[in-house]
Amino acid sequence: MIELTSLPIDHAAVTERVRSERAGAVCTFLGTVRELTSLRHTLYLDYEAYPEMAKKKMAELEEEARRRWPLIELAMVHRLGHLDLGEVSVVVAVSCPHRHDAFDACRWLIDTLKEVVPIWKKETWADGTEEWVHPGLGPA
């Protein structure tokens, strides 16, 4: 299950979707909106995607993860638009027969998703300034 949504994510429901009688392990990762980055306070975030390509890249990630690990079910859901502090921005949930594979697959999926899937976030800081978070480019 791969989804981009502008609505709050029901992460418990996403976890429930990947549970299976064939699995001995379910691993769910949640990305959530953090207030503090170093000493700066975040007010809120805005996520933007290139939706067609993001979905295609996420599908490729699923295919690659299934090739590497004995995944039973997999779900990746990314939130777009305005997010307040503490809200869930991304959910990656996997089920596998054993826990090591579930941990490894989940970690690889979230790490690689952040690197190759065209989804961007804009920080709005408490001092009112805005910044696209683009590693390597410096502040906008």
Binding site: A49, Y50, R68, K114, K122, W132, V133, L137
Partner: protein, 301 residues
Amino acid sequence: MIAAVVPAAGKSERMGQPKLLLKLDGQTLLARVVSALRAGGVRRVIVVTPPAEKPESAALAAAAEQAGAEIIVPPTQPAEMRTSVELAIERLARDLPPRHIVLTPADSPGITADLVARLLEAADCFRTHIVVPSCGARRGHPVVLPWPAVVQVSALPQGMGVNALLHRLKDQVLELHVSSSEIAGDIDTPEDLSCWKNTLGAGARYTVRLFALAKERAGRSEIEIELPPAARVGDLRAVLGVRVPALGALMQSALIAVDEEYAGDDVPLSPGSRIAVIPPVSGGAGIHLFERTATPLEYSP
């Protein structure tokens, strides 16, 4: 200040009519070249027309002036192209001389504003060099010369053309590699012209989607851009950076996606390609993973 010199006093014996007044895409050849020079960043364009007694002189002057050029009407027919160039240099030397001059024949329909801008950018980086566009072993127009090289034209021995200067100063010549379609062929025969009409017809407009920082800097989410025939991703990257200066710095680090795939600079574009500018993606220290490649991405653990 950058000035351009466009010698346009030549006879068009092989065309059977004044070739510089022929129209390509609704514009005379002369006006096309003047417009491309001005749009590419040249402040002052000097066109040397045939002497006033020639029937085409007035029409050429009008076409050039309308496109934004200054005119020199020589008292007698210049013996060769070099004579026209020297007339223009004399005019320029009377005022504060330009830092560089851009030299091009008027019958070079391949010259575009983007090509001119890229040559000037190179000349700005390498200020003592002569910048020449090239593709493989072929050199093209226009040539950008620093003023100290320009003033040496009049010292060339009688009968030698401006090309001799490039040979004489060959250690100073910097070749800027461009796509083959930008190496402007001259138009000497009616066949050349119809050939150019076909080539231009194959150029295409593209819609490029912009996201995140690129969208914000450009102030819009889409941009229409025209590229020469057989354009590749690298051409698009260069043209976008020049056409939308706000994207200039970003175009160095942004990736380009074609049909929802990250695409290297050598990937060819075709009309209908779905193109997007992908600034580095948010999240981890992932930037090191990006390289411009034409092959499908390999994931490393």
